[in-house]
């Protein structure tokens, strides 16, 4: 019992190493010019995303939505005759797992590119450890608004799709200053980079708050915590309150405000403003009535929008008719843009060609997003603007003034301007490629 038993140690060491060796997959034989993950009939993409765990609700709907759109494309002939498959791995929102699973995707599953990974810390860890940049592996359309991933110098093979949190804060600040010039403004924000990025944007736009309430990520789930937020906001007399947090925090804040009879004008950030999810969390939909929201995509409930209409049809047929919310929309839209990128990479797509194609033709790509895509040889950032809407009594976000009016800006010191971008119509066959 005391000390080491050498035979057992040897035995366990042998066991350990044979475990490592046995399951080693023999290196695949490639024809000399075919790119990893590409065959004559298929293209394999991969994603790590939280499918289980505390951070998963909502986000775990994104992969199946992406898959649904790819299934639709595959049923209609694929991209240049190739069918797109997506390998999904659960990272539980833990960087250690994200790195391990991304390694599996790249080294075992041999994916062509990564599409739509989520979480700033995770993507950063993958970028540093797996180092897709050095391996030349494209990391397409990451699901985060952290402005850093749009910087080509730091992340040469990574492309972001969302407008950054800084852009959102700048556009929002402008809107608030114009619409509520003399009101007392309050801010409730998640005290990590998500909220801190937003604070930087608000500061730059010169918006000052009468009261700022930070909350620790996850603490919205602790009984009693949301009540302290509402109390602080109402005691300070905030008449307009900006919420820059995740959806569960928005739900907790709105629900608690209703029971404490506190009714300011709410302005919901795009991340935490998904009405469908807020309803699912048990907040009476009436509470949302009159709140203002921001988004770069059309409202998922807007069936007059040709993109929403088609995506909803695909959702019904290929996605088990999942509840069509922002997460489903984000997934489908990401896949929609990815299909264009892959097509643009040519008849014999390589990783290098894919990156070059997005840099060269990316600004002509389109999707459900109402702002333009801004890819270029120097910029890896996608959408750059937002529109504002007001929630109807039934929880649908309707654009202010009846039509989508988009304001664009950048993550730097650039001004906020009204966009003149005209989004191309959804092609009749639902395919953005020939």
């Amino acid at each position: 019992m005391i000390g080491i038993n050498r035979r057992l140690l040897v035995a366990s060491a042998v066991l350990a190493t044979s475990g490592l060796v046995i399951s080693t997959v023999p290196a695949q034989a490639f024809s000399p010019r075919a790119e990893v993950g590409v065959t004559a009939t298929s293209i394999k993409l991969g994603v790590t995303i939280p499918m289980t765990g505390a951070a998963s609700p909502g986000y775990n709907k994104i992969p199946s939505a992406m898959k649904a759109y790819f299934d639709y494309v595959n049923a209609n002939g694929g991209v240049n005759g190739r069918k797109i498959t997506l390998v999904v791995k659960d990272d539980q929102y833990v960087p250690t797992l994200a790195v391990a699973k991304t390694n599996e995707l790249i080294l075992r599953d041999k994916v062509f590119a990564l599409l739509g990974p989520l979480g700033t810390a995770n993507i950063k860890a993958v970028a540093a450890s797996v180092n897709p940049a050095r391996r030349g592996i494209p990391v397409l359309f990451v699901n985060t608004g952290y402005s850093g991933f749009a910087i080509k110098k730091t992340y040469p093979t990574t492309f972001s799709l969302f407008p950054s949190y800084i852009m959102e804060a700048k556009v929002m600040a402008q809107y608030i200053k114009e619409t509520f010039p003399d009101k007392k403004i309050g801010l409730l924000y998640q005290d990590d980079d998500f909220g801190v990025d937003a604070l930087a944007g608000f500061k730059q736009a010169g918006l000052t708050f009468a009261v700022k309430v930070p909350y620790a990520s996850g603490s919205q789930g602790v009984s009693g915590v949301p009540a302290t937020w509402i109390q602080k906001l109402s005691t300070a007399g905030a008449e307009v309150v900006v919420l820059f947090g995740v959806t569960s925090a928005t739900a907790a804040a709105l629900g608690t405000a209703a029971v404490m009879k506190y009714g300011p004008k709410w302005i919901l950030g795009s991340v935490g403003g998904d009405a469908t999810t807020i309803k699912a969390l048990g907040v009476p939909v009436g509470v949302l009535y009159g709140a203002i929201g921001a988004s770069y995509l059309p409202a998922p409930t807007d069936t007059t929008d040709d993109y929403i209409k088609l995506f909803q049809e695909i959702n019904a047929k290929y996605n088990n008719n999942a509840v069509f919310d922002n997460n489903v929309l984000v997934g489908m839209n990401g896949a929609f843009v990815a299909v264009q990128a892959i097509a643009a990479a040519g008849a014999k797509p390589t990783r290098k060609a894919l990156i070059a194609a997005i840099e060269k033709k990316g600004s002509t790509f389109f999707g459900a997003g109402l702002a333009p895509l801004n890819y270029s040889a120097t910029n890896h950032g996608g959408y750059n603007g937002y529109w504002f809407g007001t929630y109807s009594p039934t929880g649908e976000m309707k654009p202010n003034g009846g039509a989508y009016t988009v304001y664009t800006t950048d993550s730097g010191t650039g001004a906020v301007v009204k966009s003149t971008y005209k989004r191309p119509a959804m092609p009749a066959n639902g395919l953005p490629i020939k």
Partner: protein
């Protein structure tokens, strides 16, 4: 002034929720010397059953009753089928300290996985049985509503009933005896296994009540991955440890202390400090009283 009053009210009501979970943990600890991490999973199962009852019969009260019964049954089964075997096999040595923790953690994972398979990883919600709109006094809305009143009184009611049962019947004594000295208790004619399982059943019912009352109050969804239930377990455990793990009154005092300190720190210092404050409260209490506020001071197990 109103801010102060409201902070106190927020502290009391959130503390009451932690207390409910703490009571469940204390009951299991008293009967079998186990910190039951599966309690969160058992509460989830019970709450799902309650949810199903609400869907079919549209009565929260019936659902609460059935959820508590189901919680008791599930908990008793866990003990009878699972923990008894464990105690026979891992009774001695250092493993005896960690085996129950690991086993109940494994059970928690198992319950979540099965729930995920059965109901899917999506959110459901329960509507409050009574109004959750705060009472108004001279134009000011209080952070206290009929629902909060229900929660606080449930906690007091449970604590009173359980204390009475323990003090005025032999059950409490038998529970204690079975936990401390099972062999001697057995010789004295106590049906040790049955008594222990009874303790687990009571805990299961209390945990179910916590789940059923928290879900409509928190504006939080019910899902197998529920963050709220994990946090309920963590804060309930911290409350139980503060209170001293041995005592039901301790569980309630611990919950209220934790709730009040959190409410005041969040309101008057910073909203970011939730988790670190919980740690600081715990360590300060334990530095002063290593066996918790109302822990019985006895010689450590030799």
């Amino acid at each position: 002034m109103y801010q102060f009053i409201n902070t106190v009210l927020i502290g009391i009501t959130s503390g009451a929720i932690y207390s409910l979970m703490a009571i469940a943990l204390v009951l299991v600890w008293r009967s079998t010397r186990v910190v039951n991490f599966a309690q969160a999973g058992q509460a989830l199962v019970s709450t799902y059953i309650g949810y199903a009852v609400i869907q079919s019969f549209h009565s929260f009260w019936l659902a609460l009753l059935i959820a508590m019964l189901a919680g008791a049954v599930v908990s008793a089964l866990v003990d009878a089928l699972f923990m008894r075997t464990l105690f026979k096999r891992a009774a001695q040595g250092p493993i005896a300290g960690v085996a129950p923790i690991i086993a109940t953690l494994g059970l928690l994972g198992l319950i979540r996985g099965v729930l995920g398979l059965v109901v899917g990883n999506k959110d459901m919600s329960i509507r409050p049985p009574v109004s959750n709109i705060g009472y108004t006094i001279s134009g000011h809305t209080l952070a206290f509503s009929p629902l909060k009143l229900l929660i606080v009184s449930s906690v007091l009611f449970l604590m009173l009933i359980l204390s009475l049962v323990f003090q005025h019947s032999n059950v409490g004594l038998a529970l204690r005896a079975s936990a401390y000295a099972p062999e001697i208790a057995r010789l004295a004619g106590v049906r040790v296994d049955g008594i222990r399982t009874f303790g687990w059943a009571l805990a299961g019912a209390a945990g179910a009540a916590a789940g059923m009352l928290q879900t409509p109050d928190g504006n939080a969804g019910l899902s197998p991955d529920s963050l709220e239930f994990s946090l309920l377990l963590v804060f309930g455990f911290i409350a139980a440890v503060i209170g001293g793990l041995e005592s039901l009154i301790g569980a309630v005092v611990g919950g209220l202390l934790l709730g009040l300190v959190l409410a005041f720190v969040l309101t008057y210092i910073s909203g970011s400090l939730v988790f670190i404050t919980a740690f600081v409260v715990l360590i300060v209490v334990l530095l002063v009283r290593p066996n918790g506020l109302i822990g019985t001071r006895r010689v450590r197990r030799a």
